[in-house]
């Protein structure tokens, strides 16, 4: 231990003696380690972290798989009656809970705010083992009959931020969607519900769903409406796989009873059979239910890989610097070996110095980590910034320490080994400055080749991702984003329903049209570029379904002038007009070209009839009056799916996104819109008001994040590689001053000296680029899922990137070559 301390002291002294060297290495390691720690911080919270509940590993998510007859409100959902059936199953589960996230309007007397809440079963907190921080949580008495449990539990964060951790809030009444509810407690600190995708401020009994969503009473006990997400806690010692096998029996019994129910009359026997063949799947519930994880997982893995490459380049560069330093210290090491130090002892001493450098670099990396994490959250989708904490935590520090240690070994092992490979007798006789071995130079050259190779792979990767991003911006979207603004209104939050909703919609449109500079305005239920969230079974007159085909289409509810406002062209027929929105108007629809290609390929679609399959006896009762051109309305990456558009007045609309086409500057039109809506109802909150171009940017947040960071990493790696190449070339020039002097004395021209040095550097570059191209060819296939309309082996990207890197390499070699050409032969020869 004493000798180790001796090594540490000596190492510190050596680092202090070369502050420039130490600063450069620390800086490089700080970037390499910081980038990795920053991305890992997000990675860990999104993909690895368990829920802060009792024994999270025992949780499973119950998800039916296969044919379903009825409506599904989101993924991984069961009907509320089916949840209650499973809650009674004590053979497999210690407890079964249900939950669902919703947005509500909260009025605590200081104004109305739109907040996220989690609707939960009465046993929710007990099953999870989450205690109250104050007051109480829910019990069985808080889940009795629909609408009869007006109580809430606050999340700890909300309690602190909104109520200043005031205990007197317990017992107070909050108005939620105009329903009075009493605060009964505060959940444990650090508990944020069962989904990473949202941070609920409040927990409300599931039986209060009708108060949150108007008209839900009839769906509470409807087995044909799936809407609750169900978690089970497995009995101790019961493996998920065994439980999944065991649960099929009660599940089959439940669905067999459902099929025998009156609601199944009229369902074709083939569909019944398919429904009966469905099964219950138990997904791991340790990390909760997160669609964000699924969406971001592959991108975060990619970023981790890219950051890892940057760290490798950094380590190669630092290793190179340490090798150069090793050459300078060879005499010292030889003396140590001569007086009896073992080779391992010398290696340990050198490794201690690497560890010290990595430790300081790791500490400095925490600053880079904070910057990287914040940069990611700035680019990333909105909900990520709500649920991910950029603050330093124990796991982040542990990762930082581990990766710093790994970097120390990566950087230090080769120079340490190299230092001990000396000819003792001859080295002791030589002058320190003359002690340099050919093997050391080759190692350094090898390091530079490695860096060039890795940098090229990184640059090609970022090139492909950037070109993919450009392609996404340039793709024919089927709608126009310029001069278009949008915002959202949720009328149900303000107590609007039925005819009042329709009237208000009409008034909003009329008022907005009156704003000078507004050319058109319209609204839709499903917003542009936010996915196809409304998928419904349909009946198409005259269409013969293929075997086992689920006849369904994506749907949207829109106002008149919608296509004109968002800039989607009509292919056939007409768009909706105000007559279609009048009470008692003929039931009409628009479909897109993809719909026609799939369901009506050889027919004139105008006049054909389609029905929504909301019940088993549904009829094709709506007439197609127009065909709109295909658009990438759901997601720029997706080509158009079959879609039906309904007049909002014929199908209802609760949440709506309003689109306004205008020639006014955005801030001006935003103010005008706020003013007009306030004039109609000052209590209705407008949210997510933005230009469509901003919305487009946000919809590409993941791609922009990956493109930005991969470019940053590519540039960083290239700079490091070029520093390495410059260093090796400059070192070579310094070693060959006498040789250059002799060449010049013998008549060599300056340009031939430049050419001599350039050849050496460019030979290394050529080797690095060749290996890098091969590596990129092999590895870029992994990027395929991230790319859009570009091949992972796109020749143009490969060639341009290789040329670009070679040009930069040429500059890195030219600087020392120019210095070599300035060598004075007399001085060089006299010097020797």
């Amino acid at each position: 231990m004493g000798t180790l301390w001796h090594d540490v002291r000596y190492g510190l002294r050596m680092l202090a003696k070369s502050p420039g060297f130490t600063a450069v290495v620390v800086l490089m390691l700080a970037f390499g380690i910081g980038a990795n720690t920053g991305i890992f911080t997000i990675f860990e919270q999104v993909l690895l972290r368990s829920l802060p509940v009792k024994d999270a590993g025992a949780l499973v998510i119950m998800t039916p798989q296969g044919k379903y007859i009825g409506s599904q409100w989101g993924p991984c959902v069961l009907s509320y009656p089916m949840f209650k059936d499973f809650r009674e199953n004590e053979d497999l589960f210690e407890g079964v809970l249900c939950r669902r996230t919703e947005i509500v309007a909260l009025n605590d007397g200081r104004g109305t705010e739109r907040i996220g809440v989690e609707l939960v079963s009465g046993n929710y907190f007990d099953v999870l083992g989450v205690p109250p921080a104050a007051g109480r949580t829910f019990g069985a008495d808080d889940e009795t009959t629909p609408g009869a449990n007006p109580v809430v539990v606050l999340s700890s964060d909300f309690w602190r931020s909104r109520f200043g951790a005031d205990l007197d809030v317990i017992g107070r009444t909050l108005r939620i969607n105009d329903t009075a509810m009493e605060v009964v407690g505060v959940a444990a600190h650090g508990f944020h519900g069962l989904s990473l995708d949202s941070r609920p401020r409040l927990f409300i009994p599931i039986t209060m769903k009708p108060q949150v969503s108007r008209g839900w009473e009839r769906r509470m006990d409807d087995r044909r409406t799936q809407w609750v997400q169900v978690f089970g806690r497995l009995k101790p010692g019961l493996a998920r796989e065994r439980a999944e096998v065991a649960i099929q029996t009660p599940y089959k019994q439940i669905i067999q009873r459902e099929v025998e129910d009156a609601s199944f009359e009229g369902v074709p026997s083939e569909e019944r059979e398919q429904f009966l063949q469905s099964r219950m799947v138990l997904l791991p519930g340790r990390r909760g239910l997160s669609f964000l994880s699924a969406a971001l997982g592959s991108q975060l893995l990619l970023l981790m890989a890219l950051a890892g490459l940057v760290l490798l380049v950094t380590c190669a560069n630092v290793s190179n610097l340490l090798l150069a330093r090793a050459a300078r210290r060879q005499k010292e090491i030889t003396v140590r070996l001569a007086i009896g130090a073992g080779r391992w002892r010398i290696m340990r001493q050198v490794l201690v110095e690497s560890l010290l450098l990595a430790a300081v670099g790791g500490a400095a990396a925490l600053v880079v980590t904070a910057l990287t994490t914040r940069a990611i959250l700035r680019f990333a989708p909105g909900q990520l910034s709500l649920t991910i904490s950029p603050e330093i935590n124990g796991i982040m520090l542990a990762f930082n320490v581990i990766i710093s240690g790994a970097a120390a070994l990566l950087c230090g092992v080769l120079p340490a080994w190299r230092m001990t490979q000396v000819e003792l007798a001859s080295t002791l006789k030589q002058q320190a400055t003359a002690v340099t071995g050919g093997r050391g130079t080759r190692l350094r050259q090898g390091m530079v080749v490695t860096q060039i190779c890795l940098s090229l792979i990184l640059l090609i990767g970022s090139g492909l991702l950037i070109r993919s991003l450009v392609a996404l911006y340039r793709v024919d979207r089927g709608f126009r984003t310029t001069n278009l603004v949008c915002f959202k209104l949720d009328l149900t939050l303000s107590g609007y329903d039925g005819q009042r909703q329709l009237d208000f919609c009409r008034q909003v449109r009329t008022q907005l049209r009156s704003i000078p500079g507004v050319t058109s305005t319209a609204f839709a239920k499903v917003p542009l570029l936010e996915g196809d969230s409304w998928y419904n079974g349909i009946i198409v007159e005259g269409y013969q379904p293929k075997p086992r085909e689920d006849v369904a289409s994506y749907c949207n509810s829109i106002s008149s002038d919608y296509c004109k406002t968002v800039g989607t062209a009509m292919r056939l027929g007409r768009e909706f007009n105000e007559l279609d929105e009048m009470p008692g108007a003929r039931k009409v629809i628009l479909v897109n070209e993809a719909f026609v290609r799939w369901f009506l390929p050889d027919r004139n679609p105008i006049g054909c009839r389609v029905g929504l399959r909301w019940s088993v006896d549904a009829q094709p009762d709506r007439e197609i009056v127009g065909v709109v051109c295909d658009s990438r309305s759901a997601n720029l990456r997706w080509s158009a799916n079959p879609q039906i558009l309904f007049p909002y007045s014929q199908i209802g609309i609760d949440q709506m996104t309003v689109y306004t086409r205008t020639s006014l500057p955005s801030e001006e039109v935003f103010n005008a819109i706020r003013r007009e809506v306030r004039n109609l109802n000052a209590g209705i909150p407008l949210f997510e008001m933005q230009t469509m171009e901003d919305h487009l940017d946000r919809s590409l947040a993941n791609e922009r994040l990956v493109g930005f960071l991969s470019s940053l990493f590519g540039i960083l790696a290239t700079v490091l590689a070029m520093v390495g190449l410059y260093g090796v070339t400059a070192y070579s020039v310094a070693q060959r001053v006498q040789e250059i002097g002799i060449r010049m004395a013998l008549g060599a021209q300056r340009r031939s000296v430049v050419s001599l040095i350039l050849r050496e550097g460019m030979a290394l570059t050529a080797v690095g680029v060749t290996i890098g191209l091969a590596g990129a060819l092999a590895s870029m296939r992994l990027l395929r899922s991230q790319l859009f309309e570009i091949s992972p082996t796109d020749p143009l990207t490969f060639i341009v990137t290789a040329l670009l890197l070679s040009t930069v390499a040429l500059i890195a070699c030219w600087l020392p070559a120019r210095r070599a050409a300035k060598v004075d032969p007399m001085v060089a020869l006299r010097c020797e």
């Binding site: 004493g2 000798t3 001796h6 000596y10 002294r13 050596m14 003696k17 005499k331 010292e332 030889t334 003396v335 140590r336 070996l337 001569a338 007086i339 009896g340 130090a341 073992g342 080779r343 391992w344 002892r345 000819e423 003792l424 007798a425 002791l428 006789k429 002058q431």
Partner: protein
């Protein structure tokens, strides 16, 4: 080939060949040499005769291509790198022409370094290092760095480092090569003092004045021992030189 039980060092038919891509150089070509415990031997010869190569092999810094080497009766010609390091640390003390002190360590740290590699306790290291520095008259410079000392002082520190571990033999390779005559005399008298205290010393020098300080001088030429002079004969020669008016140390 037999080993000598009385000798501290015994080498027999020692060969060393350096092979490069084009040239094969025979640095040692069958050297036989024994050094007894407590003996003071100098190795002399012109440049390139193999003195330093022989010294490197004796100091286990290099291995012979052929031949045997026994140190204190133990064969050491074919040891592993770590075994050789251990023997160098415990049995051999080196004094180099260019001192080879570590510039980033203080005088004290340089002297205690061999003991550090021996795993000795800090207190014992301190006691012995200070003792060695006292012995060479450098105890007042313990906190200085080598660059702050004169050449003679540096070599005295190197001598202290060589003897601090009480080695079986001190190998001095041209110890006065980088010193002026006054400092050279001081270092030579220091070596003489060490010898009188019982140290075994083997010194390489090409300067006959300093070679004469040894009890025996071995002359090397083209990798072979061509002559051995005993101290008595050398003393006679010295007397003759003095009589002839030469100033001989």
């Amino acid at each position: 080939m037999t080993e000598s039980n009385e000798s501290l060092i015994h080498v027999a038919d020692l060969h060393k060949v350096f092979i490069t891509e084009e040239v094969e150089t025979h640095a040692l070509a069958g050297v036989h040499l024994s050094i007894a415990q407590g003996e003071y031997v100098s190795i002399a010869g012109p440049s390139g005769c193999g003195k330093s190569t022989l010294m490197a092999i004796l100091g286990l810094l290099d291995s012979p291509t052929e031949g045997g080497y026994w140190l204190a009766g133990e064969p050491v010609a074919d040891l592993s790198a770590s075994q050789r390091a251990r023997i160098r640390n415990r049995e051999v003390g080196f004094i180099f022409q260019s001192f080879n002190l570590i510039g980033d360590l203080t005088v004290f740290e340089n002297v205690e370094l061999p003991l550090t590699y021996r795993g000795m306790s800090s207190a014992e290291r301190k006691k012995r290092a200070l003792g060695a520095l006292e012995r060479v008259g450098m105890s007042h410079r313990t906190k200085h760095y080598p660059a702050q000392l004169s050449g003679g002082q540096q070599q005295r520190v190197a001598v202290a480092r060589a003897v601090v571990g009480s080695p079986s033999i001190v190998l001095a390779d041209e110890p006065t090569g980088n010193l002026d005559s006054a400092n050279s005399e001081a270092v030579m008298s220091l070596l003489g003092e060490l010898h009188r205290e019982g140290a075994t010393i083997c010194m390489v020098t090409h300067d006959p004045r300093y070679a004469r300080h040894a009890q025996r001088t071995v002359h090397l030429f083209d990798g072979r021992i061509v002559e051995e002079e005993e101290a008595v004969r050398k003393q006679q020669e010295t007397a003759e030189l003095k009589q002839s008016g030469f100033d001989v140390a």
